[in-house]
Subunit: 485 residues, 2 copies
């Protein structure tokens, strides 16, 4: 069995795509066109027994007919033809192949199980296999992309994602760019006949491009070895784990999805905790934790100052802080007076939560209030929640400049960055949006531009206070050598 | 003390707005312009000691100078002038007044407390007061609107919202139309110096326009009387309660927000439960519960069939169902075979969750699969989760018709309606959207159109499976005479 050559798998120079039809709409054709659309950096060689041509590329009839060696193959042929196709990849010196096709062990039929055994047998003779029943590899740097991904980001970053689910992987790939999460590599391994969670954890532990590891897993091949790999990885990098199928019915769904064995909720939760992993319970929570680890200095945050419009938001902030093991230190004395002096009166409150009575106060006021709040030594981090959607009503009432022009998100982004830099305490922004009708597409656009402005300034953005606090908590509660303080 | 004339408060013919300046941007001017923009159905009379004119309306210097009686007043003058202004409203025969101004008991100062006492004293002489420190009344039918609401919906519906928080009220008013929640009346009562939660509960219990009551409360004036009113209301209509400030810090924030007394988490939760109210923990959850009660036949739902794209979605569905006390009955035998026969192969699963391997299957296929699933007597309700955003990749890969044109949301809306009607078991739709970047505004627009199409067909829509299940659970777990079965 060959040494795994991950470089040739993630950054292949020559890639065969098996199962590319010249016409119609099949998975092989879709992924080939997606790789073209992504401007994949290497050479793409389509393969199909019927031959033909696609976008100026000659379609070879067999992998064997390709002149010279290949590094990697994408296999999207019918399940029955997968073992022989894989065999041909070995003949062409490929380091690895991803098998997009389904129809294997996940069917639960003798035929499916036998086909998967055949795949494993071929893999053991000298090629690493991703899949079958998966969406394959996404690597922003090389341009390898997953099945329904002709337009994923080519910008790389610190987060690696290992996913037993293809749907979860493509959704996270879509979410990354607008959320502010950038990826080193993503691997959807599906049935995991060969390469899967444990070996990939070992790889990403040492991958210099990866600083944060995210993992969606439904079941593992070898519990003991998985926990060994998890512990080793979590000792050097934050490892965020979403275990699907913790419920009884979920376990049943796991069986028909990726044919893996699960285990009880209690055992899993204890094991993940002991291994030092950070457990999350949804893709959204995982993505938000990745964002927090990407942009926040890793510290054991406890005290939060929350400023924003609306007293109820402040009340909710307190209720949530308690749920997430955080506190809102009550501002007092000189600091309290200094914050209060900045705020519009009456209607504001400076006790923390800092309730700014008027959503239209200029960013300079928010800047002053936050700089004062940061002086309290019990405040470790600040959350700012501007209610930008209210500027639409302001514009409508005054009949003045249009709403996008008067919404000061660029200034607010600069202010939050400045407050974080000057105070040495990070700032997180929350951008809620209750206006999501068809008549409010302009609100959506302004909020998306605002999000981009904050992210460009290195300030993490969340949709809600609860999500922001939960993500901060994940960073604060993580215990590894990356933690400062 | 006068009998409360709610008809003259919610549907006033003549309304004085005190504190309307001819120029600039003050609250009084803002609400006056908002009322104009809403096409308020009655007569609006602006008042300001400086006189002048606004949009062709003469500004009276004093309420006393207005010829004839008024029904209602909106008061947005400085706190110190509120008592005398209110006094003048009595002189003009007003049934009620809302006081937008802040600077009262919520300040915690002797002056603020004294001013609020003065307001109460005037109110006792014959006028009902909403506020102070509130956003007032929103009534779609009459066109009364809240402070920052020049563009709220004029379409009425079954939900009444009583809110101690103005921000919460305006946010819910913004959310209603696109979520599918329509309001009979909404009252933001702020400090609640006079009219507040208990009396309003009594009113909405008997209001024929109100079928569902939602309540955001931070603290109550008289615990015993409140619980009496809550129990009475919850005995005839679903009453959904969001109690803010259940945490210790939250209680502190409550004090500076609406100056009300809270109480411990345990006491509140037990009391709400015993009174038959439905407790929620965020505005979003409250709105989603209102949607479910608005569109779902009230039944004790337990068994759910979930169909959609993605095995991981199915796994998550099971995990969530367990958390919300619901089940996904495993489809078996003839029904299982019939569902399986509809689905694309390989890759699909018919066991429930019904994993439809290909997101591009025609709606007619989904229709067939759902009709078969509904035949299982253990299935009470169905959730359909189409991954419509994947049509964008399809359009990009095939280079064919543009994405909005090929996304079959209208057909899907018709199909879900038909399945619900034919089977007698309701269908709920989930429309997730992981593509929220600036380059994906088209995805947002398609999803909003899809949401509207489903809602027009009477099918409730949620952003996520978890939210859908939580809302279904609220209906299922409610226990009142409205429950069928």
């Amino acid at each position: 069995m060959s040494q795994t050559d991950y470089e040739r798998i993630f950054h292949p120079r020559r890639v065969a795509v098996a199962g590319v039809s010249a016409e119609g709409f099949g998975y092989g054709r879709a992924i080939f066109l997606s790789l073209l659309a992504m401007n994949f950096s290497g050479e793409l060689i389509p393969v199909n027994p019927r031959g033909g041509e696609i976008r100026g590329h000659r379609i070879y009839r067999r992998i064997e007919e390709i002149p010279g060696d290949i590094d990697f193959a994408v296999i999207a042929v019918a399940a029955a033809h997968v073992p022989e196709t894989l065999e041909q990849c070995i003949g062409k010196g490929a380091a690895g192949a991803e098998i997009i096709s389904s129809g294997f062990r996940e069917l639960g039929t003798p035929e499916g199980i036998a086909l998967e055994s055949a795949v494993i047998a071929v893999a053991r003779r000298g090629i690493r296999v991703i899949g079958p029943n998966c969406f394959g590899i996404y690597c922003p740097k090389s341009g390898l992309t997953m099945l329904p991904g002709p337009d994923l980001s080519r910008e790389g970053g610190p987060v690696a994602f290992i996913s037993q689910s293809g749907g979860m992987a493509i959704d996270f790939a879509f979410m990354g760019p607008w959320m502010g999460v950038r990826f080193s590599k993503m691997v959807s391994f599906g049935n995991g006949a060969d390469l899967r969670e444990t070996e990939l954890l070992d790889y990403f532990r040492s991958d210099p491009e990866t600083e944060i590891i995210a993992l969606y897993v439904e079941g593992v091949a070898d519990g003991g070895d998985f926990l060994r790999a998890l512990r080793a990885a979590a000792a050097v990098k934050p490892v965020i784990v979403y275990k699907g199928g913790l419920s009884e019915a979920g376990q049943r769904a796991v069986t028909s999805h990726t044919a893996s064995l699960g285990g009880s909720r209690v055992i899993w939760e204890a094991a993940l905790h002991q291994a030092g992993a950070i457990q999350v319970h949804s893709l959204e929570e995982m993505a938000q934790a990745c964002l927090a680890f990407s942009l926040l200095p890793p510290r054991p945050y406890r005290g939060i100052a929350v400023s924003g419009g609306g007293g109820a938001l402040g009340v909710a902030a307190c209720d949530m802080a308690e749920a997430y093991g955080l506190t809102l230190p009550r501002l007092e004395g000189e600091i309290y007076e200094a914050v209060l002096a900045c705020l519009p009166k009456p209607g504001s409150s400076a006790a923390n939560p800092i309730d700014i009575a008027n959503p239209y106060v200029p960013p300079s006021v928010i800047r002053e209030a936050m700089l004062h709040a940061a002086r309290d030594p019990r405040v470790d981090i600040q959350i700012q929640a501007p209610l930008l959607y209210h500027f639409k009503a302001l514009s409508a009432i005054t009949g003045g400049a249009p709403f996008p022009a008067i919404t000061p998100y660029a200034e607010l982004a600069a202010v939050t960055r400045e407050v974080a830099d000057v105070s040495g305490k990070p700032v997180v922004t929350v951008l809620p949006n209750p206006r999501r009708g068809l008549g409010d597409m302009d609100v959506e656009e302004v909020l998306r531009k605002a999000r981009r402005a904050f992210l460009t300034a290195g300030v993490p953005v969340f949709d809600s206070l609860a999500e922001a606090m939960r993500a901060i908590r994940h960073v604060a509660a993580s215990a590894g050598p990356w933690l400062i303080d």
